[in-house]
Symmetry: C2
Subunit: 358 residues, 2 copies
């Protein structure tokens, strides 16, 4: 919290090409910079200075091919797709459309990739500015979409000289409530504030936030602390992709162990050992049977499983029993209940792998 | 884009209670407000003034019960759960943890709910300030988490007197590239900038952004335009929830129609009519069979389906054929290929519902 912020554009930074000294260009354009300032530098000029460009045909179908090839190179993992839009996780860990590859503000025969290591780039630029007598923080920013909100905002890709998170935990509000779960991603808010004076036509690639007393002595951990790890990511796959994964898992039952009564989001076939005793929802078997609706098979609930037998005679009835047994196994798996299937000449016994539901 | 922004806290707004006139409190605390200013008002004081509080026990297990009850009332749809964290979509359409219900900055016997209609609240406050001679925009802000990034930032819940999105589409960059897909959610960026001077202990619930020339004559469409509709939401369910839905869908095949070659994220059993001709991935059948690995059943690819017959003799072999037929149907469904199953005394024929893969 502070008393008054100013957000100031830096005009006059010209075109940036590979090998350019950004610290020099910035201080030349803004001799008014002062200790304590926070510089928000658009990642594009960092990429240009670092030569993080890829050559592509100016037009034609080969251009799109080249773009897809570049995207594949930048992609660690595809998160979701819909039509022409691909949301991926980059090697850095950022989740963004098209891995942040940008065709704007560059000539048509090039695409701009994200900096390879934005935190390192931020540290390098902070050091370069320190060499010129300035103790300033550096945030490297880029434009990103959001999962549930239209429109884009600028966020931080890299940072040096400032902590990414401002931790309010442990403080008290006026009612004596202890604030919890309140870590503000201030570098993202600073990036957003800076964007308001930048515009999108490239002529203001750097802005300064003045009056926010947040500089630290060292470089700090950078923006990497803002990247959610897989364990805390509830949206690691798009809904459609995850749903297809569930269907695929049904094809290859039994399910690996889950925590609680719900399927986990991780790769279902990783063979990881159970995390601990499985807490099976007591009503799971009943819910699973209700999911199926009317069965052509006779089902009997056992202490440790479910017995299914054909209701009619003949081969077709036996085949139907096998199909319905598998339906039921999928319905149980959806409730977090794993089963083994034992087939005999009279029917199928589904045995709960992790013991009976409690 | 503008030349210089200031972000100014408003000090001295005291405790807010139901029925308070926020326009009066704000202008009293900040007689320096001027036309063109953008006020960013923390939603909590709007909720307090509107009486959007719910009474709860100060402690004990009944407190958590009451909190859960309040959460249920504010929830239109559960998006994802993990441990104590529930991400829901509120009636407004916002996707946020605990529906934005807040226990901080209020006495222990109350919880604060989000305003019922933040855009309406913004319009009302703008009108109240206009009555006091001020032409200012009003943004109502709140703190939210993000899907793939740690930490929280402030975003806009409601707005009046300013467009939520600044549309750069159609503009040209210096290279003559036409900017596309670049709609900036400026009200979210303004909310983030304002938060930097507010802090979290409630003493600065309103901040002013000065120097951003974005006021419009009317109230504008508000923040509702920022809420993604279901059709464009690729993350409408958490990964674990969607995966369980896929397993559940496997239990109740056949699949409803999908767009493209991928399962859709919407409720699979809504019975909606097909959106149009289905584009089936040509390699889908082969991929599905590969997913299953070794089958104990004999499979033959037909022009319009797959024929499965037992490889051994006896009832158990027939049951196994039924189970494997269902596994295969789930694997095909995961690839977007819908099937009907026709069971006879010799085996199972899976018929592609939407025609053969192209």
């Amino acid at each position: 919290m502070t008393d008054r912020l100013e957000v100031l554009p830096i005009h006059g930074i010209g075109e940036v090409t590979a090998g350019d000294d950004l610290a020099e260009m910035i201080t030349s354009a803004a001799p008014w910079l002062a200790d304590g300032d926070i510089l928000v530098v658009t990642s594009k000029i960092v990429s240009k200075a670092e030569g993080r460009l890829v050559e592509v045909p100016a037009d034609g179908p080969e251009r799109e091919e080249a773009r897809q090839h570049a995207l594949a190179g930048e992609t660690a993992r595809v998160v979701a797709r819909r039509g022409p839009t691909t949301i991926v996780q980059t090697h850095h860990g950022f989740v963004m459309a098209a891995a942040g590859i940008d065709a704007s503000n560059v000539d048509k025969t090039h695409l701009v990739l994200l900096p390879e290591d934005p935190d390192a780039s931020a540290r390098e630029l902070r050091a370069g500015l320190r060499d010129r007598g300035l103790d300033v923080a550096v945030i490297i920013s880029d434009t990103m979409g959001r999962a549930w909100r239209n429109g884009l905002t600028d966020v931080a890709l890299g940072a040096a000289g400032i902590e990414a998170l401002l931790d309010h935990r442990g403080k008290l509000d006026p009612y004596g409530n202890e604030l919890s779960l309140t870590q503000m991603a201030v570098v993202d808010e600073l990036a957003a504030a800076a964007e308001l004076v930048k515009g999108k036509t490239g002529r203001v690639p750097v802005a300064v936030v003045r009056g926010y007393p947040a500089l630290i002595t060292g470089d700090g951990p950078g923006v990497s602390v803002l990247i959610r790890d897989a364990a805390s990511d509830m949206f690691g796959l798009g809904t459609a992709e995850a749903r297809a994964e569930g269907l695929r898992a049904a094809a290859t039952l039994p399910e690996p162990p889950h925590t609680g009564g719900r399927s986990r989001g991780e790769t279902p076939l990783d063979g990881a050992p159970p995390a601990g005793p499985l807490a099976v929802d007591p009503a799971a078997a009943a819910r699973a049977l209700r999911t199926l609706g009317d069965l052509l098979t006779s089902s009997v609930l056992l202490a440790d499983g479910i017995r299914l037998t054909p209701t009619g005679d003949g081969p077709a009835a036996l085949i139907r029993t096998g199909a319905e047994a598998h339906r039921l196994r999928a319905a149980l798996a959806a409730e977090g209940v794993r089963t083994e299937a034992v087939i005999d000449d009279e029917g199928v016994t589904l045995i709960y792998i992790d013991g009976a539901p409690e």
